[in-house]
Symmetry: C3
Subunit: 377 residues, 3 copies
């Protein structure tokens, strides 16, 4: 852990920290100053020790820290504590105190290439090698780090943070307070193609098999004329990809958080406050409600609608529309409870199949002993 | 939808549009001019309303548009229509009329770093911060957008479009009319390693378990001396990765379309007109025939051969060679029909397992009532 | 295959090559000079023909090559051979002889933007458009290719090779001999969020269903204060993503090889010499032992511990801690042997379910023939 991770961080009294997290302060010592946060093992005397889980609480007698953040009800004799009801929420608040953002000087770096028709707001930071296209608009206080590309007529509103190497295509609309991480692609062309006559996939969908006349025919690109709209407070992970729409804009709702390496296909409408976790994929023209959770490596077939407050568990493959508050699992995805039962049933099969064999043998014996030769009705 | 998405687009008469799509024009009004394409709800009087699906056709009475593109056989009284047999094909043709490409001025941007030994064709566009290595060749009319890297002796032929941040490694060969999207990596090293003595995986493959002497041994990198060849008319999605071969070139056949975040391992030979959809992965040394469809998040184990016209359904994991025209599903992937039957059988288990229990009880009762104590043969 | 792939490569005698691989040399001709390596079909008279597999050995009579690298025990009359016990190991050694690295001139390219407080070692190569932040340290002989971004106080030690477009965040620590490929993101923020009151996922985990009061509540970002530490000899693939830790550093152990498009979540501790293959995903706070193999598209749920020498097979989803030397498969992942048995049992179901039906019929017949009306005990 480099000390530079905390450079410029201020020092806080435990009273200040307690008032920020709204906890219960049990002091065993006065004048404790905090300038860092760590696990009990890595703490020194100016560190707030985080001890939410049993194993960390147990290690508190051995910490050098003089104060620990603990769950409600944990009481200790020889170390001051701040008890909180929702430890992760308290931790979040404290981490924000010490967080050091990336360097981003206000102004335009001399190596940046900003089109004369672009409009930059107040206090923007445009980093080295950034390219900003014709008619693009960058809002107040937005920070655009090195090597970012912003296409023509794109708009990035206020207080955004674009990490190095982000790609923002032509006419993309990005709201306020949006964070986009390294290398994410916003607004590549949708994956949409068409052939003169039905393709293998079209035939297979209709007839259940690939046709006998599967021929080499040219695949034409359906161009993307739509863009992408990203609402306020969205965060998008590293190397994620959100494609532009065919005619309308692909849409990401307010507050939605998208993890690294996620794919959002063209024409998707994603609701508010969704969580789309790493390597999940949403095919084209899918509509997600609000607060949908799409766990890691899950996928959704194109053109589906997923109801609000649904949870798609990790690695699931959704092949049907889902009502609100669905919890699904597996491929094709089914309700979690059914999936769990199926897993159990399949596991039992090993015993059951043996029983059935034994049983048949018994049955045949009975039949024999009864001299029943032909039992067909 | 920003109006700039249509900047510079021309205006067309409906007769012109009809002649382009080869449809049946039913006019209820003269002199209609079209400068945009949209769904019926978003249309204005100069918009061609797209109404392929029932719900859009039903919304036509309320559109402001004066003409709609409809499937063959849809007839309407108070709006002109262009009926077409294959709506997506017609839409593709019309979208090309209005499509506005990214800005790419002919010439070399002053910030681009082009090696003096590189050879540039006529009318190329080399964007800001592009780096082109020693001996690289860029064909006529090819557009290389900002921040692209092209390694030494690489060749990109005519009429290609490389979006920002594409990486093209040393000696890569890219054909004509190829489109590569943001951040795609063409020609990173293959993932290939070797140890002095058999590794855990080698032992496990032979003996079914990890050996007792699993030891910490150095992993040596097998360097990649091959490159990548990409044939004409290929499209490659954002943040996709196609690795270079070990000795020969990894090969992507003519007309193949690769979506975002796809992985193509070293030494793969991909046929013509394949569709490889988002987040699918092809391990090293796989051979795909022509027109193979690899749906989203599917994967193929290394060294396999997949026959032409096969369809690997979404999320499937292929572990065996497949003959032509296979349609497979699941992990390990099996023929789609079998997979569907298995899913059905597993679902039935819940009832069947209960029946079997009941049945055993009945059976025991009979046995008891018959005073058969030992039925073993 | 471009001849430039071998530019500057030296020519070797077969005696020199044999001494490097430690094989058995059977000469049928003197003075053979080798300047290339290829399959028998593509070889010319100065090529070492690789013939490890049967089909290549069979093609040797038709090769133009004068010497072939063959497995121990293969003997041939009319071509010289070098027999080796472990062909891939020998191939690796020979490939290193001919490998031509990317151009990377010693010194700082004039277009690079290196912060005056950065410290560069001896013989470093800093390529075009590279950005190096405040206080960053680059070790001796390290090559940083075009468009790489290195954040403030990051350290990249000796003999590293960073391919174009790599992102190295603030305070990241990278060891010696590390290779990172195009567009990989090292040190984006961890995906970590919290709400004021329990979220849908928290409720679902506790109660098995989404609560009735699922409400739109603000999602707060938990900032990442940790960085990433990458030990010596690690290799990281193109467009992979390794997130920074929340409080401590995410850690990648010595010798571990990470493939393209892999996700390593925040706070993970990855052991030594692990192999993490393309598109695999490791959720936050996972601990992998040493020599763990995570095959393609596999995933691990957050906070798990995976024992050393475990093999997670392709596409598996691990949901539980695993002891050392586990070999698991499926989602949820189970021991490979069980998985294979389950697959077999499910396949058998089709026949068994029919048998059970027939059986019930027979049973009913017997019952009838015995005039047993009510067998309930």
């Amino acid at each position: 852990m480099k000390k530079e991770l905390y450079e410029n961080s201020k020092t806080y009294t435990i009273e200040e920290i307690n008032s920020i997290v709204g906890g219960i302060l049990n002091k065993v010592e006065e004048n404790i100053k905090i300038n860092r946060i760590a696990s009990p093992v890595d703490a020194d005397e100016n560190t707030l020790a985080l001890a939410f889980e049993e194993r960390f609480i147990e290690s508190l007698p051995h910490t050098k820290a003089k104060v620990a953040l603990v769950p409600l009800g944990v009481s200790l004799d020889n170390i001051s504590t701040i008890e909180v009801e929702r430890p992760k929420l308290a931790m979040m608040k404290i981490l924000h105190l010490f967080y050091v953002p990336p360097d981003a000087h206000t102004g335009i770096h001399p190596s940046a290439i900003v089109h004369p028709d672009a409009k930059l707001g107040n206090d923007v930071s445009i980093g080295p090698n950034v390219v900003i296209g014709r008619g693009a608009v960058i809002g107040d206080n937005t920070k655009v780090l090195a090597n970012v590309y912003i296409g023509k007529f794109a708009e990035v509103k206020k207080n955004c943070l674009l990490y190095p190497g982000v790609y923002v295509g032509d006419c993309i609309e990005i709201g306020n307070n949006v964070i986009i991480h390294n290398g994410a692609s916003i607004g590549a062309d949708g994956y949409s193609f068409v052939t003169e006559t039905p393709s293998n996939v079209e035939t297979a969908k209709k007839e259940g098999k690939v046709g006998d006349d599967a021929t080499q025919q040219k695949i034409y690109k359906v161009p993307s004329l739509g863009a992408v709209t990203i609402a306020d407070d969205v965060e998008i992970g590293a190397n994620a990809a959100i494609d532009r729409g065919t005619i309308e804009n692909t849409y990401i709702g307010k507050g939605t958080k998208i993890d690294n390496l996620v794919q959002i296909g063209h024409n998707c409408i994603v609701g508010e406050n969704c969580l789309i976790i790493s390597q999940a994929g949403v095919s084209g023209s899918v509509k997600l409600g609000d607060r949908v959770v799409l766990a890691g490596q899950a996928g959704i077939v194109d053109h589906l609608e997923i109801g609000s407050d649904s949870i798609i568990m990790a690695k699931s493959g959704v092949t049907k529309n889902l009502p609100d508050k669905s919890i699904v699992m597996g491929t094709p995805a089914i309700p979690r409870k059914e999936f769990v039962k199926q897993i159990k049933n399949v596991k039992e099969l090993d015993v059951v199949l043996k029983e059935i064999k034994k049983f048949k043998k018994d049955f045949d014996s009975i039949r024999e002993s009864l001299n029943i030769e032909n039992v067909e009705v």
